[in-house]
């Protein structure tokens, strides 16, 4: 569980985030939605201690974020970064194994127990056939799976994902988000992720936090937050809502 209160962050004297307050619950998917530059990624980076906010309070599973070492934090929070630049062509198995690093000391090597955890994850994600391939030579969707697998190896309480659907094709976007939601349910993970597509958010989110210019413009269940009025106000874009049963779909009125 994540609880953020009265968070503010300035970078190089410029305020990036202001008056951020929200909670994210275990077993639920919370989506951060907002235009480019609205502070989504920055907020995510605050939650993994990449930035130290000048003001406010972040509690991760009841513990003050600033009181945690990187090692302890990694046992609670796992992150799938937006841009991942691989340098060495490690095997998929070796990449997932790295998730165990926060559980072992500086002078320890992973044991067969860690290898078994990796095997279980490969099976769970159904990517056993990739295990011995260099992760630089697999597709974008497969790589996203591997990075999620690395997070699972950390055995975290909280999962943070920065635009997990980036660079993914039509099908894989759904596959990945479905997987993330299932994991949240089954393992009672607190999942927080950023997305660009409001329609994806309404399909998969339990809670949506709408960011605009570093502030929270709206938060709540998707059907309350993702409305034509909110979208028009924040993206400065005329949109229309299509309804089909319980589903609804936003599309822009252009042309």
């Amino acid at each position: 569980m994540i609880a953020v209160a009265d968070l503010a962050l300035s970078l190089n004297g410029r305020p990036i985030l202001q008056q951020i307050a929200f909670q994210a619950q275990p077993g639920e998917v919370t989506v951060l939605l907002g235009p480019n530059g609205s502070g989504k990624t920055t907020l995510l980076l605050c939650l993994c201690a990449h930035y130290r906010p000048g003001q406010g309070d972040i509690q991760i599973c009841g513990q003050e974020l600033t009181s945690l070492s990187y090692r302890r934090l990694a046992q609670l929070v796992a992150v799938v970064p937006q841009d991942h630049h691989p340098v060495f062509p490690y095997q998929v198995r070796e990449v997932i194994l790295l998730g165990r690093i926060s559980r072992l000391g500086f002078f320890s090597q992973p044991t067969s127990a860690d290898d078994e955890i990796v095997d279980d994850i490969l099976k769970l994600l159904n990517i056993q056939q990739l295990a011995d391939k260099p992760y630089t030579r697999i597709s974008g969707g497969e790589r996203q799976l591997v990075l999620i697998g690395r997070c699972l190896a950390q055995e975290p309480q909280v999962l943070l994902l920065d635009e997990p659907t980036n660079h993914l094709d039509f099908k894989n976007q759904f596959v990945i988000l479905k997987l993330i939601k299932d994991l949240a349910r089954e393992r009672q993970l607190t999942v927080l992720l950023t997305l660009h597509d409001p329609n994806m958010a309404s399909l998969f989110a339990d809670q949506v936090i709408l960011l605009a210019q570093g502030r929270i413009a709206a938060q709540g269940p998707p059907q309350e937050v993702i409305t034509a009025a909110h979208m028009a106000a924040i993206y400065h874009l005329e949109v229309e809502m299509l309804r089909a049963g319980t589903r609804h779909l936003l599309y822009p009125k252009i042309g």
């Binding site: 934090l73 046992q75 060495f88 926060s102 090597q109």
Partner: protein, 332 residues
């Protein structure tokens, strides 16, 4: 299966390499005679006294020293390439070689009483520490600053060396130049005892922490997110690399190319997992150095600086590997 054979073959390669190196030299010793000398305490035979002396006091210390130097250079090269996420890096990027050069030049030119090993070791470590200090900003040591600081420190120390070279008489100039080319011709057990502990300590730290290099090679932000205490873990690796290379350089002079090439060769042959790359680099570095030094001391009547041999022998081999399986070592 064949990968496993290759792995263990490479790990054990220093032994046959040493055996080869023991045989060759101005005074050839046959494998049977080596067996006799090494087995003397067991009563294997009585070889000529001169031969025993050459083996124990000349050839063996030199081989051990060559192995230590090769091990130090390759282990630290591996470490720094992983930490810096950069293929064109070895320990000398930290200013170690320029520092050692200055130490040598100062000793030769101004304080002939001080052993070159000592001044080279001290100046080399000083240069590395100066590089860290310059790069240190706001409690962090960013990699780009570190590389820039290394370049600056190297340039500054090299300029001082050039100035000393310019000032001294030709004899001293010759000995500075020869030392800078790198050679193991002064090897004895004393040198092994001087350099051994520092090289051993540095290499041990790198070996123990080797798995964490995989995480550090993902970059700062990701390593932190994985739970690596990047600041002090990276510092520890850098210190270990600097310590072992400073010790190596102090007894061998500046031998380039080993620390750069060996890690690449290992990764190209057996993949990038540092749990294996570190020990394999150590073994291959030791083997490569012993064989290069054997060529250096036997190819002509005199001694060729071993740095020349490592480059001449290494470059073509490296090019062939790079052409064949370059992408498997490095992704651009």
């Amino acid at each position: 299966m064949s990968r496993n054979w290759l792995r263990w073959g490479l790990l054990l390669s220093p032994l046959p390499a040493a055996l080869v190196a023991l045989q060759f030299g101005a005074y050839p010793i046959s494998p049977w005679q080596i067996w006799q000398i090494l087995g003397m305490p067991l009563g294997a035979g009585t070889p000529p006294e001169a031969m025993v002396q050459i083996l124990w006091q000349v050839r063996l210390p030199r081989i051990v020293l060559a192995m230590l130097v090769g091990l130090a250079l390759s282990a630290s090269g591996t470490t720094l390439q992983a930490i810096f996420r950069n293929p064109l890096v070895d320990a000398f990027i930290l200013g170690l070689s320029a520092g050692a050069a200055l130490g040598c030049a100062v000793s030769v030119a101004f304080w002939p009483g001080l052993p070159i090993q000592l001044t080279a070791f001290v100046c080399s470590l000083l240069a590395a520490l100066l590089t860290f200090a310059l790069a240190h900003t706001r409690g962090e040591v960013p990699i780009l600053s570190l590389i820039l600081a290394g370049v600056i420190v190297s340039a500054f120390f090299s300029a001082l060396v050039s100035m000393i070279k310019f000032m001294v008489d030709p004899h001293k100039l010759a000995s500075i130049v020869f030392w800078l080319m790198g050679s193991l011709s002064l090897a004895d057990w004393l040198a092994v005892r001087q350099a051994g502990p520092c090289i051993g300590l540095g290499a041990l730290l790198i070996w123990l922490g080797r798995w964490r290099l995989n995480a550090l090679s993902m970059g700062d932000a990701e390593a932190k997110a994985l739970g690596v205490e990047v600041r002090w873990e990276r510092g520890l690796f850098l210190l270990a690399a600097a310590l072992s290379v400073a010790a190596a350089v102090s007894v061998s002079g500046i031998i380039g190319w080993v620390g750069l090439m060996v890690p690449h060769v290992v990764r190209m042959l057996l993949g990038p997992d540092h749990r294996w790359v570190v020990p394999l680099s150590m073994a291959v570095g030791a083997t490569f150095m012993v064989l290069s030094d054997t060529i250096a001391r036997t190819f002509t009547g005199g001694e060729i600086p071993v740095g020349i041999i490592t480059t001449l022998a290494g470059a073509p081999f490296f090019i062939i590997l790079l052409k064949q399986r370059g992408q498997e070592s490095w992704r651009t």
